[in-house]
């Protein structure tokens, strides 16, 4: 018997939801209803049932929604009703349609149901939440992803502005009473997040939602957890992970996300804010090293913690604003989608657990992310030629700040997408020089990549998989980040050619990897080095949320112990 091996996803925090929104948009962009051309074999499509559930709403319509639990601050939902838009129980509010009739009807209904003591109801209508142009067009069904420029990068205030996917009523939990502020992070510390997790109003409801999702699953294989590590959501995620391990004992792939900008906290100057960030990271790493199956910190920044320059990673072919949440989160989401695609394909024997296990041996649970988007392959170029000329280190760009896994003793798991088998190599009669290359005997993309890394990385182990499905990069993905040397199918144009301005990149090949090597110990050293300057007593917001000195010291010790896992350079 073959059952869908479900994965439940969690998103804690605003940036996590930014990334999540792109991730789910990407899933829906890849839905295939029917494929007349049948270019891609069935088993190379992702099995959407792993991440999605089928349901029925009150109107007896079938719904297909992500198995997702999302937590964010009040106010981030903007125009989205908290119950989602598929199951009713809300009033559709848009500028054009007056809602008075519907509200009046609801009012009468409520009065008939004797909800009012006196038979009368006072209606208080708050002003309609502003809706982004993209959402307005989506609602009207006049979405134009080809020509219209929605300027999402400049105008986007929240992830709700560009969310194409629709969620189940169970999905959103908003932290009541903690409102999003434009200048400071309201839920600042790990401790505050822990406290929030334990508050009865939140905890009971949230754990029950997890249970309801788990109850539906026949063969739950694990969890995928995204959270903001810079703020209080780190505490909430740590506690959630603990709960998941207690109740469900499944694999968990955790992705702590660093904001691409320095966020500020109430009553904290730069220096204090920096300390808060470091303490949040220390405490999170402490919990993750014990609870997670594997964790991969993600950010588009080059370094974090003591970072005033905010230098961004530079992906060849991409131009994005370093501190733009909408654009940077799209890059991270592209990574997440690509790297996890390996075990989400149909008829794969891979699982989340093996994925984690393979690259995190003997307690080396911290792993590094790297991505090549777009892959620098030229139009008409074959993979074999591309790899032949590519500089071995320049292929992938690191997405984990402060991590350089190096090119020897590396364990890695990589997924290539968007390279059709026809682009692998020439048939024998046209092969010319290709025949002389060792890689010519490889029959698949994954095989060839494996060989490539075998040759380039000294005593390393690579696991590669691939699918011909490219990354879909039309709206609401920030298509504008591709520079003009790439064609609309994401392959590189010849040297002097440029894509015309009207043309947009609609899809792109990509390569993503999760890597592990003893060099990752440096990342932990860097974090530990930061802690020397911290005076915990001076961190007011921490003493307020009741962080015990002991707990912090345990966390520091644990961090060193965890670092020891990376000490032995001989271990592959």
């Amino acid at each position: 018997m073959n059952h869908t091996r479900e994965i439940l996803t969690f998103q804690f925090g605003t940036y996590a939801n930014y990334v999540g929104a792109h991730f789910w948009n990407q899933q829906e962009a890849n839905f295939v209803y029917d494929d007349p051309a049948n270019e891609v074999a069935v088993e190379q499509y992702p099995n959407n049932d792993i991440l999605y559930r089928e349901g029925r709403n009150e109107q007896k319509q079938t719904t297909y929604t992500p198995r997702l639990l999302s937590v964010d601050l009040a106010g981030t939902l903007a125009h989205l009703p908290i119950v989602g838009e598929l199951y009713g129980n809300y009033v559709q509010r848009a500028d054009e349609a007056p809602t008075d009739d519907i509200v009046e009807k609801l009012k009468e209904g409520a009065e008939q149901n004797k909800l009012s003591t006196s038979g009368q109801l006072d209606v208080l209508q708050q002003p309609t939440a502003p809706m982004s142009e993209y959402q307005r067009d989506l609602l009207k069904g006049t979405l134009n992803t080809q020509d219209k420029d929605y300027k999402l990068a400049e105008s986007c205030n929240s992830w709700a502005d560009y969310l194409y996917a629709r969620y189940h009523p169970r999905t959103f939990s908003m932290l009541q009473g903690i409102t999003r502020k434009s200048d400071v992070q309201s839920l600042a510390t790990h401790g505050a997040g822990v406290e929030m997790w334990h508050s009865t109003a939140f905890n009971e409801d949230f754990c029950d939602r997890i249970r309801q999702y788990a109850e539906e699953c026949d063969a739950l294989q694990g969890f995928q957890l995204l959270f903001d590590i810079d703020d209080g959501f780190s505490g909430m995620a740590s506690k959630c992970l603990e709960h998941l391990n207690d109740e469900y004992t499944r694999a968990s792939y955790v992705l702590p996300l660093h904001y691409p900008q320095n966020i500020s906290y109430a009553q904290a100057d730069m220096r204090t804010a920096h300390s808060i960030r470091v303490v949040n990271s220390v405490l999170s790493y402490y919990h993750l090293s014990e609870q997670a199956s594997m964790f991969t910190p993600l950010s588009t920044l080059e370094t974090i913690w003591r970072n005033s320059s905010l230098k961004s990673r530079n992906l060849t072919g991409l131009q994005f604003q370093a501190n733009n949440l909408y654009q940077t989160s799209a890059v991270l989401a592209a990574y997440l989608d690509t790297v996890t695609l390996g075990f989400r394909l149909r008829e794969t024997s891979e699982s989340l657990m093996r994925f984690c296990d393979r690259v995190s041996p003997s307690g080396r649970k911290l792993t590094a992310a790297s991505l090549a988007l777009p892959l620098g392959m030229q139009q008409q170029q074959d993979l074999i030629d591309y790899l032949n000329v590519a500089d071995s280190n320049a292929l992938l760009t690191q997405l984990t700040p402060g991590c350089e896994p190096g090119s020897s003793y590396v364990l890695q798991s990589l997924v290539a997408r968007g390279i059709p088998d026809s682009r692998l190599k020439r048939p024998l009669e046209q092969a010319a020089k290709q025949v002389q290359m060792a890689a010519y005997k490889c029959d698949s993309v994954s095989h060839m990549l494996q060989l490539y890394y075998q040759c380039n990385y000294h005593s390393s182990q690579t696991h590669a998989s691939s699918t011909p499905l490219p990354l879909k990069t039309h709206l609401p993905f920030p298509y504008e980040i591709f520079n003009s040397s790439f064609a609309s199918n994401g392959f590189k144009l010849l040297d002097d050619e440029h894509r015309s301005v009207e043309q947009r990149v609609a899809s792109a090949p990509a390569l993503a990897a999760v890597q592990n090597s003893s060099k990752l110990g440096n990342h932990l050293d860097a974090l530990h080095g930061q802690t020397h300057r911290i005076q915990l007593a001076k961190l007011q917001s921490y003493s307020q949320s009741g962080l015990e000195r002991d707990e912090y010291e345990t966390a520091l010790e644990q961090l060193l112990e965890f670092r020891d896992n990376y000490a032995d350079a001989h271990y592959l």
Binding site: N89, T99, N113, L115, L121, D122, E215, M353
Partner: protein, 532 residues
């Protein structure tokens, strides 16, 4: 110049009179917002948020939360109101009203030069006296259905329409009495499950003497309805988890791997077999049936095996339902199947499934001596259900408070009027300017009957005069009849409030009000001082 500005020239601060004015105006503002909610004639509000979310409420606490208060003073009062809710489940609006009124009354004297310190001392004396009065007028009650109905009804009538309140009263009292089972102790309200069902055409609230769970069997062949059922509750995993991660899963050949997998699978199968053996032992040859309710997962293979035996199996039950099931059906929740006996099983007369859209519900009913029950709320939409749920919660709390206190306080503003009169008398015995504070406290208490009168459409001054005069003349307590606007005896009409609620209000309000009065400097400093 405040000392803070020496340290931080950017700090914003307000001193003395100005600080007080800030606090008082915030309290008054909040009071204005909440005023219309008080009492059975207060208006119910339907909130439609900017995104279209609907909420119907009359609960002061809910409103306060929804308004997302930023003002520091207001949020302090809001917190007092939340504490009141956590503690007693009632009186949240009253708390806000009273704090506002105490400050308002105090302001009159403070503006004439009375020192806040004297004011707070007077408040303390007045509060002690008021508590004394409360002690004197409380009515000890027998815990029986009639008395509990009265208190629950008073509480519920302030939340929903009288006719619905009557229905809910019956449900709440029955629920608590069933669980209490003649003991005179307050019950664990966690043992009353509130289950909601969204149903297009049906609005109904009923008490199920048993348990309703929000999930059902996950196998098509499992029975949909069983009678005379044994209930096995367990916390044992019946699913095969690939153990590759936790243990080294080393194998040389494919067959060896197969063997490992089979051994692992076998382990689970053994557990399933134990359940099936027990089922055969107790059910075969009788008309009894068997239900398994598991807190952990059950995988399709195990479900299949159980279904073949006609066992109804539920997976991933709520943790709290384990406890509830044991109380409702008897039996014990098992953590292992090693020593499974008949005595571990519970019993239910009927177990059946109900499907509604994508949701399944399983009813476990006709239990022999249920010590845990479920209140099932049906409504056409979410906001209706939520509003009824909130009302029920408060009703249950009111009943439980009564059982704990074993006494009640006459309602309809009777206590406030009496306390006012007593305080005015008491004022004479207080020395010095503190008298004024006692007077202020006495006057502040009248805000409750006053607002009740206004909300019901009567003249406030008229009513207050009538009530205070009537109270002075009669030894019995006098409250306001909201139907006629005339004084009446609340004991006759069965209008009662909880003793603990009143006590809590007196205590917390005087403390918060005193604290706010003593504030003589408000400052806002810090690195991210929020200008504008």
């Amino acid at each position: 110049m405040a000392s803070i500005s020496l340290l931080n020239p950017k700090a914003e601060f307000a001193r003395a009179a100005q600080a007080l004015a800030i606090n008082i105006s915030a309290a008054k503002g909040l009071q204005d917002v909440m005023r219309t909610n008080l009492g059975p004639k207060g208006t119910v509000k339907m909130l439609v948020s900017g995104a279209g979310d609907i909420k119907i409420t009359k609960d002061g606490n809910v409103l306060l939360h929804d308004m997302q208060i930023q003002h520091p003073t207001a949020s302090m009062i809001a917190r007092a109101s939340t504490a009141q809710d956590d503690c007693t489940g009632d009186g949240t609006t009253t708390t806000v009203m009273l704090i506002g009124e105490l400050l308002k009354q105090a302001d009159i004297y403070l503006s004439e030069g009375l020192h806040p310190r004297i004011m707070t001392e007077g408040f303390e004396k007045a509060r002690d006296k008021a508590l004394e009065v409360l002690e004197k007028i409380k009515v000890p009650v027998e815990i029986n259905k009639k008395n509990l109905m009265e208190i629950a009804n008073t509480s519920l009538k302030t939340k929903v329409h009288p006719s619905l309140a009557d229905l809910l009263t019956e449900v709440c009292v029955d629920a608590v009495l069933t669980i209490a089972n003649d003991s005179q102790k307050p019950v664990d309200l966690h043992m009353v499950e509130l289950m909601e069902m969204q149903h297009k055409t049906d609005t109904d609230t009923q008490l199920v003497r048993g348990l309703v769970m929000d999930h059902g069997a996950r196998h098509p062949d499992m029975p949909k309805r069983l009678e005379n059922a044994y209930i096995l509750t367990a916390n044992v995993s019946l699913e095969y988890e690939k153990a590759e991660v936790n243990s080294g899963f080393f194998y040389k050949t494919a067959t060896e791997r197969e063997q490992f997998v089979r051994a692992e699978r076998d382990f689970i199968d053994q557990r399933v077999k134990k359940v099936i053996e027990l089922k055969r032992a107790v059910c075969d040859g009788t008309d009894k049936t068997f239900v398994l309710i598991n807190q952990k997962g059950i995988d399709p293979i195990s479900l299949d095996a159980l279904a073949k035996e006609g066992i109804l199996a539920l997976r991933r039950a709520k943790r709290r339902n384990m406890e509830r099931l044991a109380l409702a059906c008897g039996g014990t929740a098992m953590n292992s199947f090693d020593d499974l006996q008949e005595e571990h099983l519970g019993y239910a007369g009927v177990v059946y499934e109900h499907v509604l859209g994508e949701n399944k519900y399983t009813f476990v009913e006709d239990c022999k001596n249920p010590l845990s029950v479920t209140i099932l709320i049906k409504g056409p939409n979410k906001h209706t259900i939520t509003q009824i749920k909130d009302a029920i919660r408060d009703g249950l709390r009111a009943i439980n408070n009564t059982i704990a206190d074993k006494c009640l306080v006459p309602g309809a503003g009777a206590f406030e009027v009496r306390a006012h009169n007593e305080l005015v008398k008491f004022k004479e015995s207080v020395k010095g300017k503190a008298q004024l504070a006692v007077q202020a406290f006495a006057d502040a208490l009248l805000v409750i009957p006053k607002t009740l009168a206004i909300n019901s459409g009567y003249d406030a001054q008229d009513t207050i005069v009538k009530l205070t005069v009537e109270d002075r003349l009669s030894p019995e307590l006098v409250g306001l009849d909201l139907g006629t606007g005339e004084p009446m005896k609340p004991t006759d009409l069965g209008v009662y409030d909880n003793y603990i609620v009143k006590k809590q209000i007196l205590n917390s309000c005087s403390i918060i009000a005193s604290n706010l009065l003593l504030v003589d400097e408000v400052m806002r400093a810090g690195m991210t001082s929020l200008k504008g």
